[in-house]
Each structure stands twice: as structure tokens, then as C-alpha cells.
Symmetry: C2
Subunit: 335 residues, 2 copies
DNA sequence: GTGAAAGCGCTAACAG
DNA sequence: CTGTTAGCGCTTTCAC
């Protein structure tokens, strides 16, 4: 009801005995005499004035809204990311509007929405086919950053944990632990992160003369990973170590191993990637490669903001080094 | 760059040989001759026209944006909620903008933001002090719904799982299992959900002549719950069953119990509330009261939408019954 | 430093 | 059914 008589800048101007423009300036750090500014702010407070974002947006052609396209939040690594991203964006005066996807079907309509919302920028943390969305956004003139899952061709700017370094660290760790028969459970084809982690892990083993590991997809789901784990356990030569390309899958793997009375860390080695909060839970104590989340978000956001101000067109993919966290799911290194 | 020459409705009108208003009507289900509509849409497609939400919002005074205020997403129950809420909102043509809070300090600035964004509606799933925010929103004329945590006084409309039914179900289950010395680990003072669950659990025990359980706060955090669990285990008369007011805390409790070699389900009973996805993970197999999430979200959103259309001022709190899910963290009922 | 005036792109009466 | 005419509330030259 109070809404019926929304208070506008004009109202404030009248009460303060100045012009609309003065009010506008006062709100945007323009030139305003100190005393006048005080009068304006006082009037604004008295009237409970809040500038209309719509009007401002129409006038400035900037919505101060950033879109975040992301796949289902069931990967335990994402909620924290969303959380902190929202916070970081808020710190720069931006708000996050959420676009969730469930696979490829949603892509077209989401694209429409994304483009239709006239966002100032878009962050693509989605797994599937995001590159396609990214180029369309770019064509529409809206700055994009890919996060975690990046453009393999490097055309679209993006930020990710250093998958090569991570995969190598895990591989090296596995080797020093003395594991010989390794396997990897990876995610979906469309995930650059999963692909790269798998590829570099394999390369690393090959470099050390070890045979190619058995590779099987966990499809980024609990059920898929459980199934993959079972298939691995049914193999003639059971693996003695499994590298899962995300913590979420590693944790599903860990639990499925329980069905075989096989104890991770003692009877088999399991490692993940990301260092999602649950990785360090006592029941899991998962060895993993920690993505430098803070740095990733900072880099992502600041680059996006820069791109929005029309500056640097921004380069390709930025890979940020993380850190190996050895926990109980892999056995102690051989001396 | 393409942005420099944003295509407007006028451009489309010109190309289609009609007036701006015709274009507007075509986009809003107004009266337009079929052939004219076709011509307009074709022109729009050719020009890659997308109506400006800012302009539309300015004109209609509706942003089609719904704010979701929520505390840190570390409670495993929330990500799914956010996910599905976003989806449900999208289905009705609304987008969700996220406001995350970390305790009371953030309240004031968030309130400013929330109000400043001229949202069409607000959903408050935040734990802390949300009632205050809610009334301010209402005063500002923007419809609000509280979710999960509701207004204890019933002034603000809200939707929650039926905490009484849930707490009673857990209590009854504990009793049929033969547990005698119970304890509850609850969350924070400001959480209506936690308070009600605790209160009704206690009442239920009292009704059956059982002594008041030991109550201790887990502060809605892993560390806090671990500490609470340890304190409980150090008690002279160790509890033989613990009711945690959220799954998140129950899971922390479960893990801490491991430090004492006490096996949940065998040596002690543990139950939670919510049925977050992880509750059913094999390692936890947590007995819990499942909140009817789908129904809650549907009710929340449809009531909010109704309120936004200025209809029913909406009543008080709606409590929706959930379902007890007995799993391995509590022992089999006595015959 | 401050005000006047002209839009930003769209919707919404109101005529025709 | 369609075009004309006003704004929606804010920013932004451009004079004063």
C-alpha cells in the first residue's frame, strides 16, 4: 500500500529545496556542496527514498546485475562457491541472479533468458555446453567469464584451478604411495575440468612408465559413481587406487567401497579434486587437490568487472595453482 | 560492441511497418492481428530484438525479480532448496536474486539492498532475525514469505515443515526404540524451526512421563555440534539417544560419536530433521523427519505470487506435514 | 556548484 | 484492431 506513492528523487529534491539533478549527483558522487548534500540526504532519509534501479538502469544502460549460470548445486563444491561469489559481487555493488540448468535441454531457453535480462555480465560455472552460451553472450556484447569449466579452445576468458598441476600432484602422490594399478572415475564429456584432470593424470603416469589407468565415467552423480566403482571392483585386476575428478564423486566412491569391505587408505587409495568442505569430514578424510577458491573468485570477478568497463578484452583461460591435501583416504607414502 | 547499437522496439516497429505499441502488444499478449504479429516477430528475430527489462520495469513498476535472503549455504538442506526455488520461480517468469547473510551484522546493509532493489517479492529463508526484515519489507509494500524459519508471532506469512508433527514423530520413534536418556542438540536462539522442534520434542517426552532431555546448542555449525556432542558424552548419565534439530547437525554429531567408539544405531540413537540429500548416504543412514520440500516451495511461491497480485493479504504460518524416515542411525523398535 | 531539459525503451490509456 | 500521446524515475550534457 505504501507502494502506491513511491517516493522519487523529485520528492526529495522538493523537500530539500534543490533540483532533481542535485539529488542525482548526491547519490552518484558528483559535485555537490557539503551542506546541500547533507540537506538532500536528510530529506531522503526522512522520506525513506530509495533510487529506482530500473530507472537508473534505463538511463545508464547498466543493471548492476550479474548472471550466474550453474548446474544443479548438488556438487558439494558449488554451494560454497555461490555463497562467496555472491558476497564478492556484493562488495563491488553487484547482485547475482541465478540461472540453474539441468543439462542441455535447458540451454536454449536459458540462453534467451540470460540474454533477455540485459545483465551487465555473466559468469558461467555450468558444466554443459557452456562454450556455446558464452559465445552468444559475447556476440550480444555482454562480458562473460567461465568458471571451473572453461573453454577448451581458449576463445572465451575463464578461470579454473590448475588441472594439470592438480592431476600431476595426485599422480605423484599415488606413485609415492606405491600404488600400481590405478583407475580414474571422471565426469561428463562436456566438462573441461574433468577432461583435463583425466588427461593430465594419465600423461603423468605414462611419463613414469606406468600403464594407462582404467577410465570410467561417474557421470557427476552419486548413483553413477557408485555404479562405476562397482564396475571397477569387479575388474579382474582390481585397482589399488582411484582418482575421482571431483570430490563429490570421490565421496560417492568412498562410500561404495564400503560394500566390499575395502577400507580406503588401508586397502585402497582414493583421491578427489576441489577440496569441498565435506572432504575433510572425519568419515571421509579425503585426500584431494584443493582448488584455490578465493583466488579463483577474485580473479574471475575482477576480470569480469574489468571487461565490463570496456577495458581489456581479457585473455584466455587463467589456471590457478591449488594445493595437495593429503588425508586418510590414501596410505602413507613409502619411505 | 554490438551493444553500442542496442535494438529497440522502435526499430522493430519500423522494420515491421507498425507502431511501437503494436510491438509492445505483440510481446504482451495484447490484441494484434495474426499477420501483423507474424510480421513483428519476424522483424524482431531478424534484428535480434530483446525487450529491455529495465524499461519495462520502469513502466510497469514490476521487476519480475524475487529476492531470496538466506544464510550461508553450508546447511546441506539449502542448496537443494535454492536450486528448486529458482526453478519454480523461473516457471512463473520470475528470476531469483540472491542475498546471503552471515549473522546479524549483515542485516542492516542487506535490508537496504533488499529494499533498494525494488524486488517484486522477497523470500526469507534466513535464520537470523528475519522477522525484523520481514516487517520492514511489508512496510515498504513488498510482499514477503518466510520459509523454514517463520515468524513466531504469526504476523508475517510463512511456510514451514510441521515442526510439531516432526518432533513428535521423532520422540515417538525414540520411545518405541526403547531409548530412555535423551538429549537434544539444537541450533540458534533466533531460529524458530530449531526452537519449535526442541520444544515439541520435550513436550512429547513429558506427555509420556519421561524426564526432560538435556538440551545443548550445536550452533548450526559442524564445530559447534562436535563440541556439543563431546559435552553430551562427558555427562555422568550419557544419553542413549540424541535428537538434532537439523540433519546438518545430526551428521556432525554422528561423526563426532566416532571418537568415542560409539556406533550410531547400535550403541546410541541419532535422529535429524529435514532429510537433506546426504542423510541417506550409506555412511550416515540418518533417521530423520523429511520436510515436504516440494510442497513447501510450491506453497511458498504460489502464495507469494498471489500476494504480489495484490490479492489475499495472506495469513500466518502454514505448517506442512512431512514424513518420518527411519534409517540405520536409530535401532530397531522393540517389539 | 547547480538547474533545465532531453532522453533511456517500454507500457498504457485514449482515440480512431 | 492499431496508432498517438504521455509518462515511469533517473542520469546527463549544457548553460548559467
Amino acid at each position: 500500500m505504501t507502494n502506491s506513492k513511491a517516493v522519487t528523487g523529485t520528492d526529495v529534491a522538493r523537500l530539500a529545496g534543490v533540483s532533481k539533478s542535485a539529488v542525482s549527483r548526491a547519490y552518484n558522487g558528483g559535485y555537490v556542496a557539503p551542506d546541500v548534500r547533507v540537506r538532500i540526504m536528510e530529506a531522503a532519509r526522512k522520506l525513506r527514498f530509495r533510487p529506482s534501479p530500473a530507472a537508473r538502469a534505463l538511463s545508464t544502460r547498466r543493471s548492476r546485475l550479474i548472471g550466474l549460470a550453474i548446474t544443479a548445486l548438488d556438487n558439494q563444491f558449488y554451494p560454497e562457491m555461490v555463497d562467496r561469489l555472491s558476497e564478492r559481487l556484493a562488495a563491488s555493488g553487484f547482485r547475482m541472479v541465478l540461472f540453474t540448468t539441468r543439462g542441455q535441454a535447458d540451454l536454449e531457453p536459458m540462453l534467451d533468458e540470460l540474454l533477455g535480462y540485459h545483465l551487465d555480465g555473466v559468469i558461467l560455472a555450468s558444466t554443459s555446453f557452456a562454450t556455446r552460451v558464452a559465445s552468444e553472450c559475447r556476440d550480444a556484447g555482454i562480458p562473460v567469464m567461465m568458471l571451473v569449466n572453461v573453454d577448451p579452445t581458449g576463445q572465451i576468458p575463464g578461470v579454473t584451478a590448475d588441472n594439470r598441476l592438480g592431476a600431476e600432484a595426485i599422480a605423484a602422490h599415488f606413485m609415492t604411495c606405491g600404488y600400481r594399478t590405478m583407475a580414474v572415475i571422471n565426469g561428463l564429456q562436456e566438462s573441461s575440468a574433468s577432461n583435463e584432470r583425466t588427461r593430465h593424470f594419465c600423461n603423468s603416469l605414462a611419463d613414469h612408465g606406468l600403464p594407462l589407468p582404467h577410465i570410467i565415467s561417474g557421470e557427476y552423480s552419486f548413483a553413477g559413481t557408485a555404479e562405476a566403482t562397482r564396475r571397477l571392483m569387479a575388474l579382474p585386476g582390481r585397482p589399488d587406487a582411484i582418482f575421482c575428478t571431483t570430490d563429490m564423486m570421490a565421496i560417492a566412491c568412498l562410500q561404495t567401497l564400503g560394500e566390499y569391505g575395502v577400507v580406503p587408505g588401508r586397502d585402497i587409495g582414493v583421491a578427489g579434486f576441489d577440496d569441498a568442505p565435506i572432504a575433510q569430514w572425519p568419515v571421509f578424510s579425503l585426500t584431494t587437490y584443493a582448488a584455490p577458491l578465493t583466488l579463483m573468485l577474485e580473479t574471475c570477478v575482477s576480470n569480469l568487472i574489468q571487461a565490463m568497463s570496456g577495458n581489456a578484452p581479457a585473455a584466455g583461460t587463467i589456471s590457478l595453482p591449488g594445493e595437495l591435501r593429503v588425508r586418510g583416504s590414501t596410505r602413507a607414502p613409502l619411505v
